[in-house]
Amino acid sequence: MSLGAVLRVAVAAALPLVIAAGGGCERWHVLGTANLDGTAGTAGSAVGAGEGAAGTGPAGTGAAGTADASADADAMGTGLAGTGAAGTAGTGAAGTAAAGESGGAGAGGAAGTGDIGTLAVGCPAPPPRPCPASCDLAHSNCVQGVCTNGARRWLTLGGDNRHSGWAVNETGGPPVKRAWRVQVSKPIVSEVLPVVADDDTVYVVDKYVRSTNQFFPSTNDHVWALAASDGHTRWSVDFGFPAEFPTDVVLGMPTLADGRLFVTEGQASLSPSALDVFLARTGKLLWAQTFEPGHFTGWAPLAVGPALYFQDDNGLRAIDLDRCAPAFYNKNLGSAAGFSPLALGGAIFTFTGGKLQRFDPVTGNDLIVAAIPPTNYDYSQYGAPVSDGDAIYGIHPGTLSAFKPDHDAPLWVMQGQYDGIPAVANGVLYAIGDRQLSARDPATGEISWTAFDGEYALRYPPVVAGNWVYAASEAHVYAFDIRTHKLAWTESPGGWLSIAAGQLLVAQPDGYVSAYPLSP
């Protein structure tokens, strides 16, 4: 089933919003393989969607043995042929490996010294992974080994596709002590991006800047999978080079979905950029989608069913995850900004330059829903809009505003020194601004209560779990009791906050990730 079909089915099944039929997927240039017309001069305009035919290993012959592509095997159907035939020169034909779901390619392994098999090609997908027996499938969905209902996950910036900042299944209170702390980057000039996590593993992207040249920084980036229980490294991927070969690779915020970890990869040079798709369980790079040179802003991608949406300097991109191919690229944002898009009501939303835009999830056709009045700020928003499922809230520098997804004017606009990303949880909107953490009525924007009048540098988006809201600066992280509006806990340093697996996770600016178990 195509991306469009799947999305339309999903929309039709779950939502009253009617998505207009689009004109098909937009074709991209400089992607994938393409036949040329034989003249070198036209090479640059080659077109193609980069589709690979689903690969199939040739049928096993002779002593090839049985390729093992069990449910727990890697996505490409890593099949090693039986060893019994090893050493039989010339007879080692490839086994047949079962393809993964959604067109995943199977490749046979080799036996003996003959044919080593067939290169796996196509669009790999994570192989099905069963949930543990403890998962009550009668009351829970199993997604890539995770019982989704009640799962304490933090899948993307703000935790979910609405970037709400609300860990809805967490009920614990402020931590008592730190459980573990892991250094993932060197504390010279470094940055740890906001982490994502499931019940089992915390996924971290670090960016270690090795050069202090602000114009030509040399970076060394990693993707880490740390055990949620004790922080030990399950796997890591090193994008960097040794000192002899400095690199300009810059990674973006991760997003976790369906057993895959999505990370955008930019290049400071004019080389092409990429979306990298990892198998979350092993760190295997399933595939990478190449894009023409551009500047990825590094904000978290949005995974919605079989599609992935993310932004670069020029527009909103969509990727068909079933085909491992671009779906659309809408450059009609009208404002350069860095943001993560939002999924609500079967549509994709962006909020840049004070404008809320709605995009057809299949065609990418856009409609400006509403815009705030002009402000004195000529720079745009960096962050993400958030939603409680009813309205969309966004910060444009100097304003905090709310929109109904189908209204052509803002619901309300509040002036103030707002910055960053708000959070919305359990009927309360939280925002950082005017050196305060404010709690507001989402319907009117009126302040319900404020807290924390101390630290000017409060900057990271608040997160909410149970009866507590957490906010952080680079130096500290704080917990406030929503019921009493009082400071309940503090720790240092601060950083990007996430809540998953019963823990408050802090991606610190000093290159560490710390985990604080929530108290019962």
């Binding site: 393989t33 070198a40 490409m76 890593t78 080799a110 067939t118 290169l119 796996a120 080389s271």
Partner: protein, 491 residues
């Protein structure tokens, strides 16, 4: 009309079609035809005879004896073949037995690969040695740039055989090429100081055979490219401010033909591809083909790209990588048939990897990734790991340098197999023979079991390192100090 004549009207400045007279180095005054060069060559021979001992050839023919005499070149430590500055013309095993300074061999085989649980590398058989001469004809050894000498049957530990000075000024060398009997080498020169040397040595004992000198070069000259060897010629780009392809007779070092460009092309440092009697070389912004035996240009197609890496030939198609693109071209017409673009970071001046093939598929480093493609450029697997140098391939195993470490991956799936690291980052493409990989940085060269990634019982390492090549029972290390060192395999 010959194909060369038919395609005469291309961009290169040509000698008369049909003339077999080689383009001379008019004004160079320094090729092997000159009396001065013959005299120089005679002096080289004399010098060799002064140093060589009668039992050298015998030792070369009895590598077991060498091995037994060189216990230092084993797991005990690194065989120290380093010299401080250029040595004499050459040194032999009898004149300079290796000494051990016993630095620790690296803790090989440590894996920092993702925990996929795949340790299949140790369960796999290395491809068996094939029959034929043990040759290393170009960068990567063959037309596939595989980095794999399929014929060599030797294994570690290796013993010092000989070393020779290629560049008296101590500049780093390009990788040696060899037909198994003669080894050829030249130095890396960004500005050749008006003189460039290409030298030939006997594989058996390092005895000088010939030296070709390009001299009286203009000050704007670029240095020589990596060498490519055919049955008849040593091929290289050399020594002009614009494209110029040189063909020397492999047997004598005398110039056969020299083909200059009429356009101000920028010379490539990468090895030409000798394929089906053609010479294919990337000279920005063109990818050009010439007839190997006449130097006649066949086609020279403007691709408009700045950086070309060495092309490879697979199933009658020529593949060339430049930047983040891989092209497939018809070698007869020069027309590009397919192209693929991928992401990657490129620094054309530090790039030390070129695409490689195992004869079935293509493997390409696009930093920080390593990718596999089918011959029709359908993408296969992609792996990430700070990949910058390589790849090379033998059987099921693809090797590349990632984040300064030697990393082995499954050729079909890209799954990590093992990682081998030393104290210093590896900076040269690995080479493979008879189940062992050899990998180097400027400091040392190491032997690693291809199946396990361990140094194991046959651990061997030597100092210093450099560009590696394998031919005629020798591992050649083209060092950064202008010295070419040859080690003998254990049989």
């Amino acid at each position: 009309m010959t194909r060369a004549c038919a395609l005469l009207l291309v961009s290169l400045a040509l000698p008369a079609c049909g003339s077999h007279a080689p383009a001379s180095h008019a004004g160079d005054g320094g090729d092997a035809d000159g009396a001065g060069d013959r005299t120089e060559a005679a002096r080289d021979v004399a010098a060799r005879e002064d140093v060589a001992t009668p039992d050298l050839a015998e030792r070369a023919d009895t590598p077991d004896a060498l091995a037994s005499e060189a216990p230092d070149a084993s797991a005990d430590g690194l065989a120290d073949a380093a010299v401080d500055g250029p040595a004499d013309v050459f040194e032999s095993a009898s004149a300079d037995a290796p000494t051990s300074d016993a630095p620790d061999a690296p803790a090989g085989g440590s894996s920092d690969a993702p925990a996929s649980g795949d340790t299949a590398g140790g369960e796999r058989d290395a491809p068996p040695a094939e029959a034929g001469p043990s040759q290393w004809l170009t960068l990567g050894g063959d037309q596939l740039r595989s980095g794999f000498n399929r014929v060599e049957r030797g294994r570690p530990p290796l013993s010092f055989a000989w070393r020779a000075t290629v560049d008296p000024d101590g500049r780093a060398l390009w990788p040696a090429v060899s037909d198994g009997k003669t080894a050829y080498a030249t130095a890396i020169m960004e500005r050749p100081d008006r003189t460039v040397h290409v030298l030939a040595f006997a594989v058996s004992d390092g005895a000088p055979i010939w030296e070709h000198t390009f001299d009286n070069l203009p000050s704007s000259s670029t240095g020589p490219s990596q060498l490519t060897l055919t049955d008849d010629h040593v091929l290289l780009s050399c020594c002009e401010s614009e494209m110029k392809i040189e063909a020397l007779f492999a047997s004598t070092g005398k110039a056969h033909w020299s083909m200059a460009s009429s356009r101000p092309f920028h010379q490539s440092v990468w090895a030409p591809l000798a394929f089906d009697n053609d010479v294919i070389v990337g000279n920005s912004p063109n990818l050009c083909a010439l007839d190997e035996h006449s130097g006649m240009p066949l086609h020279c197609d403007l691709n408009g790209n700045w950086t070309f890496l060495s092309s490879l030939a697979l199933e009658g198609t020529v593949y060339t990588q430049f930047g983040a693109r891989l092209w497939a071209a018809d070698p007869v017409t020069g027309l590009n048939t397919r192209m693929i673009t991928f992401d990657g970071f490129y620094d054309s001046y530090s790039e030390t990897g070129v695409p490689a093939s195992d004869g079935k598929n293509l493997y390409v480093v696009s930093p920080p990734k390593l990718r596999a493609f089918t011959p029709d450029l359908t993408p296969g697997w992609v792996a990430v790991g700070g990949f910058q140098i390589g790849p090379v391939i033998a059987g099921h195993v693809v090797l590349a340098i990632g984040s300064g470490k030697l990393k082995a991956l499954d050729a079909l799936t890209g799954d990590p197999l093992w990682t081998f690291a030393s104290d210093q980052a590896f900076t040269y493409p690995p080479v493979i023979a008879n189940g062992f990989a050899y990998v180097a940085n400027g400091d040392a060269v190491y032997a690693v079991d291809l199946a396990t990634g361990k140094t194991g019982a046959d651990a061997w390492a030597a100092k210093p390192g450099g560009w590696l090549s394998i031919a005629g029972g020798r591992l050649f290390v083209a060092q950064t100090n202008g010295t070419l060192t040859a080690y003998s395999f254990t049989r």
